[in-house]
């Protein structure tokens, strides 16, 4: 046997330091290939600005829709939280409580810090109103005694938990019963819950759509580079090596889509800002639309990037294995 010039052929006399250097080389080369793949993938994405822009827009719109709806919900919650009368407590007084006692209770309540307003509904007036509205005037007239109690309608001050105030008021001497009218608050809350779930469901479907779109885009990229993949595999490229540029392609599409989504949401907010301001002014409110902010925008970009990677991973694991040298 002749002496061979190839380093791998002879017996290895390299020590530990040499193999460590080799390991370092491998790490450097691995890192180099990552940055090379990232740059090359970005170049390929930018090489076809038309189709890339289209992909970015599709992903951007799909991500912007749930993001914008979420912003709308957040704003709606802020508005409803600012409403002056979120709930009303009806205080039904004892039958024995006289009109004077009711009036003094009402003025006492108005003086409390946790009460925004208190209105007295006199039982005589209430009976007259009932007789008039119900058409039972004859029946009412035949009654010996007014069956209705005096009523004080209490609106809690902002920031006061209505149920806390209710339990404080029910123990007052003249009060027979304190009924918290929460029905419409609950209705609103339920509506908000429902909307939140709808947005969540929509977001789930659209995110799935984004992953599928990206998966398909990457599948096409794989098809376009089929020959190259075969050659790389022939000269000993591992699956990870072949996979890497496509994962970066997915990442770039996703990140671009996330950026577009953030821009779309910002544009929508800018578009709506003035009419909302005008409307708020008409209601003597200083309400202002809150946007998604820098963190929200970054989250959108991050989400886009993650979805891009996921879609690329799905496409790559489905299609790369099928491409073998023939």
């Amino acid at each position: 046997m002749r002496a061979t010039p190839s380093p791998g052929a002879g017996p290895r006399r390299e020590g530990a330091s040499a193999s460590r250097a080799r390991l370092l080389d491998r790490y450097r080369s691995w890192r180099d290939h990552h940055s090379l793949s990232a740059a090359d993938s970005l170049r390929r994405v930018l090489e076809h600005p038309g189709s890339s822009l289209l992909t970015w827009l599709v992903i951007g719109i799909a991500l912007a829709l749930p993001a914008a709806l979420n912003v709308a919900l957040e704003n709606a919650r802020e508005i409803s939280g600012n409403w002056d009368s979120p709930a009303q407590i009806s205080l039904f007084l004892n039958q024995s409580a006289t009109r004077e006692m009711a009036q003094s209770l009402q003025s006492e309540l108005v003086g409390r810090g946790d009460v925004a307003s208190a209105r007295l509904v006199d039982k005589t007036a209430a009976l007259a109103e009932f007789a008039e509205l119900s058409g039972f005037a004859d029946v009412v007239a035949s009654l010996d005694e007014n069956p209705l109690p005096n009523l004080v309608l209490v609106t809690p001050a902002t920031g006061v938990e209505p149920s806390d105030l209710q339990s404080e008021l029910v123990v007052l001497d003249a009060v027979e019963q304190a009924v918290l009218d929460m029905a419409w608050v609950q209705r609103l809350n339920n509506l908000m819950d429902l909307s939140r779930r709808l947005v969540l469901g929509l977001a789930g479907i659209l995110v799935l759509g984004v992953v599928l779109i990206l998966g398909n885009t990457i599948r096409l990229a794989i098809e376009n580079r089929r020959e190259e993949i075969v050659i790389v595999k022939l000269v000993g490229g591992s699956n990870a090596f072949v996979r890497r540029p496509f994962l970066y392609t997915g990442l770039w599409y996703g990140v671009g889509g996330g950026l577009f989504a953030a821009l779309l949401v910002l544009a929508a907010l800018f578009f709506l800002d003035e009419p909302v301001r005008n409307l708020a002014r008409l209601y003597q409110s200083s309400f202002e639309l809150s946007g998604i902010g820098l963190i929200g925008s970054l989250q959108l970009v991050l989400l886009g990037g993650l979805l891009g990677l996921l879609g690329a991973w799905l496409a790559v694991s489905r299609h790369l294995g099928a491409i073998e040298p023939r």
């Binding site: 061979t4 050659i231 000993g236 699956n239």
Partner: protein, 220 residues
């Protein structure tokens, strides 16, 4: 270096590409593999490259039983073998240099080492001054030399070639064969599939002839 022990390969459609092939190629040898198209030359090379697995029998390369190499380890196995194709299989959107450097990048060499070795390989095939050119601007013979540079750049111990002179005129073919002989001189085991009998019979090397998947005779 390469040994086939009663190897048969039957493709799924029922075609017997190789039947009971037993052949031994020793270290530092240069061997020609010949036969009509469809005789099984390419299949034999594919089995060495692990692009296919034999239906029966045992293939050993550099002391390693190929049946024991799992799918995951195939890339590593291929890095130890240089391959030259009839249709060159070059990346047409990359420069000559990038094409030659590809196996080194895959193997994980430092980029300075990559540049040094790729240039050395290009120099050996006489194309150093064309390193920045795109393959498409080269002639057929030059493209094949790029393919050879890529095959030897990783300093493999085995070099396979499938009809490397298939599209070349006799003068260029002889040049390419000289290149293979030069690599064989420095200790690379070379196996060349070719049906160009006129050319290979002039060169003094062992010729293995296949017919319908069977071994005809191995003359020295």
């Amino acid at each position: 270096m390469i040994s086939f022990d009663r190897v048969s390969k039957r493709y799924e459609e029922g075609h017997d590409a190789l039947r009971e092939i037993s052949v031994e190629i020793t270290r530092d040898e240069l061997v020609f593999l010949t036969g009509h198209s469809g005789a099984g030359k390419s299949t034999l090379l594919r089995l060495i490259m692990l692009m296919d697995r034999p239906t029966r029998g045992k293939v050993t390369v550099d002391g390693q039983d190929l049946a024991k190499i799992a799918s995951r380890a195939i890339p590593r196995h291929r890095r130890n073998i240089g391959v030259v194709f009839q249709n060159h299989q070059l990346l047409h959107d990359r420069s000559v240099f990038d094409n030659v450097a590809l196996p080194l990048i895959i193997a994980g060499y430092d980029h300075r080492e990559v540049a040094r070795r790729a240039r050395a390989a290009l120099d050996k095939v006489g194309l150093l001054e064309r390193e920045r050119a795109l393959p498409i601007t080269l002639s057929g013979g030059e493209q094949q030399r790029v393919g050879i540079a890529r095959a030897v750049v990783g300093r493999p111990r085995i070099l396979l070639a499938d009809e490397p002179t298939g599209n070349l005129d006799p003068a260029l073919s002889a040049e390419i064969m000289q290149l293979f002989e030069a690599f064989n001189q420095v200790g690379v085991t070379v196996l060349i599939a070719s049906h160009d009998l006129a050319l290979i019979s002039r060169l003094q090397h062992r010729i293995i002839t296949l017919r319908d998947g069977r071994l005809l005779g191995a003359a020295a």
